[in-house]
């Protein structure tokens, strides 16, 4: 199958004409989204443009160290973003969450490349950077859900936590139900998503590969594999992030430390 034709810059600019639809509707119904819309579209275009330059160079040099380094930068940025979008304290969580992400997502990425794809060189930009980006982009949201759900539920359902402790639960035993619920909350969207995949929508990786000229059967194999990888990466990173942070987030009396949460100014 042939790759889809390139889009000329002129035609892409015509694509921006689609923005007229929300802009006009926003004017008519006073949605007040024009400013935010333009900022968001501007950021998206700018960031993707810069990344494309970066990718061009990464593909050009295709140096294993540079590729690995870039994956690490993406992981650090994803951890930063995960904590920034939660109610948790940055200084307390950045390192343990990054470490959990490096082991969780990094480990699964290596497995994906080495065992499933099995290429001559594990550290090519095509596999490491592109698949890594896909893995991180799709697991980030769940990582946020998992970590914040755990701490917020313990804070909100403090009576239940106290009750469990008074039932004889030790520190770990009292936190286990909250841990379970947090991990399930992180995984639930994927379970729903995987069950409807292909029926309700065509997933991104598959679409990309078909547009790139791959045959649909190659595309679905990659898609199935990446979904399994994302699922494993989320489970592992959320579990590790909670293991790494949980012990230090409680004092000796079992009380959740107040500085776990970001101070409200």
């Amino acid at each position: 199958m042939e790759a889809a034709p390139d889009i000329s810059v002129f035609r892409l600019l015509m694509g921006f004409g689609l923005l007229l639809v929300p802009v006009v509707l926003s004017q008519v119904y006073r949605l007040g989204l024009i400013r935010r819309l333009l900022v968001s579209v501007g950021r998206m275009t700018g960031q993707l443009f810069l990344v494309s330059i970066l990718l061009i160079y990464l593909f050009d040099w295709d140096n294993a160290w540079l590729n690995t380094g870039w994956v690490l930068v993406m992981i650090l940025f994803a951890s930063f973003s995960a904590i920034h979008n939660s109610s948790l304290d940055f200084r307390r969580f950045f390192l343990p969450v990054s470490l959990a992400y490096v082991i969780g997502a990094g480990g699964v990425l290596l497995f994906f490349n080495a065992v499933i794809v099995n290429p001559d060189n594990l550290f090519t930009a095509q596999l490491l950077v592109v698949v890594g980006g896909m893995l991180l982009g799709n697991s980030l949201n769940s990582l946020i859900i998992g970590i914040s759900r755990y701490y917020e539920t313990i804070r909100r359902e403090q009576n239940r936590y106290l009750y469990l402790i008074s039932l004889g639960a030790g520190p770990g035993e009292a936190r286990r139900p909250f841990f379970r619920e947090a991990v399930l909350a992180a995984l639930n969207p994927f379970l729903a998503n995987m069950a409807t995949m292909g029926v309700v929508f065509l997933p991104g990786m598959m679409t990309g590969q078909i547009l790139g000229g791959a045959s649909p059967d190659t595309a679905i194999k990659y898609q199935v594999a990446i979904m399994l990888a994302i699922f494993a990466a989320v489970t592992l990173s959320v579990t590790l992030a909670l293991l790494f942070t949980s012990r230090r987030s409680f004092d000796g009396f079992g009380v959740l430390q107040e500085d776990v949460f970001r101070r409200k100014d």
């Binding site: 009576n159 239940r160 106290l162 008074s166 039932l167 004889g168 520190p171 619920e181 000796g252 079992g254």
Partner: protein, 237 residues
């Protein structure tokens, strides 16, 4: 200082249950407690003593520190000054987890999470501290019936129970664990009148353990309790 009298047979029953090992004349003592909540002084020099088998009813309007009092006893809040003494030991880092195993705490509007009631009970009996107690189905069914629940409730998911059912499920589990001290925080609030009566009478008549009941519900029989009015003994003294 408030002292609460208790009858001799309470000691006898306590001794029968705990054997010849250590047992206590005084179960709980708050000693000259000062506690601030933010800039708000909650307790100023509060002292209370509850003997073994004694019963304390804590009253006071909302915000007077009723729940904070229970949290102090559980070691979940630390006083700014003063000491909390449980079973002759000053509550501290070294003994708090062990002492909590003698207490049961139930609050209002209990959230219990998800999963079947029976599994929830079994999980509590699988806690390291409770191993060797054994989950006794017969006693469980008896208590369920006492509080007007069918034994089928054991197969129902916790999240499908009504507030009142959940409340009773929570209370029953603490009774199955036979604790020495019961800390009850407005436990009857989600129940209708006949069930309020049943819960209050059960604790007043059947439970020999030390009771600390926080409630403004007139269902509790004041004659059976020593009362502590936080508005008199707390910050507004």
């Amino acid at each position: 200082m408030i002292s609460i009298p208790c009858s001799d047979n309470v000691f006898k029953s306590l001794r029968e249950r705990t054997g010849p090992g250590p047992w206590f004349l005084e179960m709980l003592r708050l000693e000259n407690i000062f506690l601030r909540l933010g800039n708000n002084p909650l307790f100023r020099n509060l002292s209370v003593s509850v003997p073994a088998g004694g019963r304390l009813l804590v009253r006071g309007r909302s915000g007077s520190g009723k729940s904070s009092l229970l949290r102090l006893l559980l070691g979940f809040g630390r006083p700014d000054q003063g000491r909390v003494v449980v079973m002759d030991r000053v509550l501290g880092l070294d003994n708090v987890w062990a002492l909590r195993r003698h207490m049961a705490y139930v609050s209002q509007d209990m959230e219990l999470g998800r999963g079947r009631v029976g599994d929830f009970y079994r999980e509590a009996f699988a806690f390291r501290a409770n191993r060797g107690m054994g989950f006794r189905l017969e006693e469980t069914v008896h208590l369920l019936e006492t509080f007007d629940l069918d034994k089928k409730v054991l197969d129902q998911p916790l999240e499908k129970l009504s507030g009142g059912e959940r409340q009773r499920v929570a209370i029953i589990l603490t009774l199955l664990l036979h604790r020495d001290i019961y800390l009850l925080d407005e436990v009857t609030s989600a129940l209708d009148q006949p069930l309020k009566e049943r819960v209050a009478r059960y604790f007043e008549q059947e439970v020999k353990a030390t009771l600390v009941v926080v409630s403004h519900d007139p269902v509790w029989d004041v004659k059976k309790f020593q009362t502590l009015d936080l508005e008199k003994h707390g910050s507004r003294a």
